[in-house]
Symmetry: D2
Subunit: 306 residues, 4 copies
């Protein structure tokens, strides 16, 4: 069933056991909107408090702890023409003691971007003249999404953990399917923090923050227990590990990938280890917020041949 044009009336800045705004059946799809990280909607109105306010939660009938919630990102579409970024690489991403000196100051500490979804590019609109020759290709992605975490926790949308959250990974784009571990009845799916474009790491603390029209399909794998968010694109298996330091995020993501290859793709432990050694890839997600994200990737073609 398709739930069209679900209109959010409330936004959460924690991902937790909040009452569902809509309950759907496994296989249903939902069309709705998300506001930007600052809480502004398609018209630029401030309708939520800042800090990655989330649309949802959406409950899936029958979802119980120990299940796996499946989210297909059917459509991620910026629904206005202006986006915002910060203009300073974060101090935690630069050498301690390296203090950049800027020639200018920024109004409201934000750079404005003009986002053209027809041409498919974005360019700086303010400060005028900044990076005048640069048109970056759009690549819309979800910065922060996930499900209610374990133990009845309510976790800030500034951070991430096993339940997903603020992972800021460029690979969470349209067409990708994401798997989350269910820890609460209904699963409780939240989504927000759309980026028209983002560099790896979200090292200025923002992508091009913008409101989205989104459509996603929610499904359920009963009795399938996973440890960390998993995902599939047409070409890749992906696992997100969320922790600090990055070394630990790598450990979480790699361990989960080893288990995935063995459990779901029939590889022996030896085959999984040997194959990972020579064909694994890693991408960097968020390296700005309390928890960092590393994504462990494997080519589906390579895994299929194994």
């Amino acid at each position: 069933m398709a739930h069209n044009q679900f209109e959010p009336r409330h936004y959460y800045t924690t991902i937790g056991n909040h009452p569902p705004v809509l309950e759907v059946d496994p296989g249903d799809s939902v069309s709705t909107t998300t506001v930007d990280a600052l809480g502004r909607d398609a018209s630029g109105n401030q309708v939520a408090e800042r800090g990655n306010p989330q649309t949802g939660p959406f409950a899936v009938r029958g979802a119980e702890p120990g299940d796996c919630l499946v989210v297909r990102l059917d459509m991620l579409h910026p629904n206005r023409t202006v986006g915002y970024t910060r203009g300073v690489v974060a101090p935690n991403v630069l050498d301690p003691g390296f203090v950049p000196e800027f020639e200018d100051e920024l109004e409201e500490e934000l750079v404005h971007w003009s986002v053209d979804t027809h041409v498919g590019t974005a360019r700086v609109s303010k400060p005028e003249g900044l990076l005048a020759g640069v048109n970056l290709p759009l690549d819309p992605m979800v910065g922060c999404f996930g499900v209610a975490p374990p133990r009845g926790q309510a976790i800030s949308t500034a951070t991430s953990s096993t339940h997903g959250g603020n992972m800021d990974y460029r690979g969470f784009r349209q067409g990708v399917t994401v798997y989350f571990p269910v820890s609460a009845p209904g699963g409780l799916f939240f989504i927000g923090d759309g980026h028209a474009i983002q560099g790896d790491g979200e090292i200025v603390g923002t992508g091009i923050e913008i409101s989205f029209d989104v459509t996603f399909t929610l499904d359920l794998i009963k009795g399938k227990t996973i440890g960390w968010p998993r995902a599939e694109s047409s070409d890749y298996l992906m696992v997100a590990g969320n922790a600090r330091p990055l070394d630990q995020a790598v450990q979480h993501a790699t361990t989960e990938m080893v288990q995935w290859l063995q459990q779901d793709f029939g590889l022996s432990a030896r085959a999984a280890h040997v194959l990972l050694g020579q064909s694994v890839e890693y991408d960097l997600g968020n390296i700005f917020d309390p928890a960092y994200t590393m994504v462990c990737k494997m080519s589906k073609a390579v895994v299929a041949a194994a």
Copy 2:
């Protein structure tokens, strides 16, 4: 001038102020060979002790501390048909307490690979039957190379720092130009540890370890002081940061990239920060050895437009 077929007679397992085996002029190219990480040459003979033994050092006339040594990797060619990998993802890349259980044991703890440079693929040859359907595309790269480090140090080829060393980055492939900071007269360039293929991170502790025929061109930029290894491919600017944890490697690489964009490409601090924020990329090098490597990348086309 081309120094053809320089034949190494000695290999070093530290990168330090060792007497040069050949002195060349800026702009000269050198053709020589490297043994594999285990010290075995093109014929499979053990001619050096294990641990990334290096060919060199090659001195460049006129190189002095404060200069920049330029290395173009003209050719990196596996010169035999068998390579070796380990078969276990390293414990420091897996969750603490996660102990894999293998169905088999490995002879000499090594997996053997058949490397076909004509077809351009590698496959496991021993244990027989392991990953029988998998043919991985060759992508030869240098695991360990660099120049004499500062303060008269001699640093193990197991690790890396500002001088380069064991960075195990897949992007150090044929056609790439690498820049190292000169800390000793002549610069003293070392090269070894060829991999026919390697997954990101070298997470089993090896790529497909193999001996190489190599050709490289050495050049000099007088008075150009850099902090970390920089590199250029046809498409990318790259900086390697080497440290633990990965977070610190990211800090080194990003800070160096900010400075590179401002100093050599004329970007203002603001332009550099804003552009990095939305278009930076990161790759993972070594995450096995004492120092880890993260590479900060920027598209040359994007930088040129800025």
Copy 3:
């Protein structure tokens, strides 16, 4: 006013915006009990789920975000004679790949300890014969306590952050006064997880876990905003930084101490930095759970002389 013998009827395993069980005036003291980390009370009965269940929350009238909640630990007294520890140093505290081999197995994975509060020592009671000659001096402390965190979060009692939580610091003992940043109306103070004894770091994942009789006095400093839990013993100023890796915990604790010395003790920035350099001390709190704790300490006598 003294609230004597408050009897808890419910225990929380998150620290969050839960309804207060008692509201007190600033300056009031409360006598109550805490169950052990496993949820067992003074009689050894399982009355709460495991995972550092907390007594509380206690609201302080007039406490608002931006204030500082003051907790004096008047009495921390083990109220039964048996305590429990784990018997294995955690894998995250040992070298990756180091797998200890034990000669024995433990029933229920727990070591039992006989706790004698009159003599003031504890010794292993089961397995029999283990460490037969060892009597460790009691040093009761609170492992997990704190106040409701910001943004309406509810954070697992397994971890810690600016709000306190599972810091497992030996210095949180009887007689010590602790300061927490208020983020929710009433502050909402929780306490639990008493340890009869604990080694630095809680490296086996437990102290000697035991139920407590506790008395504490709650007070308020209006308009006093702090960033991290601060504390005072008779001899020391202390700040707890909670994060991973430990390096970051050190950064939080040290930055907060610098500010404390300047704001409340009248030191110039220069005096604070110079004095810290030659007389700061650090203690290790929890190095077992998701967030680690480092405590930055300064002698009150030294600060008073400055």
Copy 4:
């Protein structure tokens, strides 16, 4: 045999396989001097380059790789009345983005201290008036010492590893015996970087840097292989782990302590783990330089009772 008044003529800023300045028999003691971290001697003359220049190396007859070199620190005595510290807590010890603002500037970036070895205290002598009321008790210690590292490396005296080096641990004071793993013939012992006083962590990048008269006794345990520097005071067993982040230093130190307790004190694995859990202590060494130091400590009395 006592080698009295050995007068250094050369100082090294790497710890490596340098030719010994003196060869001694196991059990011999040596009296000599060390210059301060800046290269200044007892008269304040610059006689060596800055960066923890070392006196030595001293070879012990018969020492071979796989042995253990024993160093008893018989006397550590500041031999002049002025010492130097930096006056700024290092950026890597403070929160990223926290930039202190000082009311004053420091000449030569150094604070001068008047060191009175008769009274046993130090106080700031310049800038005048800074911390005028503060007299800190002297507690002389060695910041940087160790033996030639493995693989023929020569490692900067700015850092530390298995061979010792710049550990900046307050517990390396007079009366303590230190054990180093021998990796080169003769062991090759270096010593320097005396501190009249130092706060934990050396968080301003210096202790009170001063030249020393030193006496030490060198001995040998044949065939005793250790992994990390171990030490004994009258009360404690200590192990130094040197790495980044601190978490890894803890892993090295704790693993070595577990092994020490089992191998040399007859504890079963279970007894060692259980005892460590409730009585281990940790001290912080250097948290300023490339490698950080954590020290794992156990009370000798507690271990003797086990």
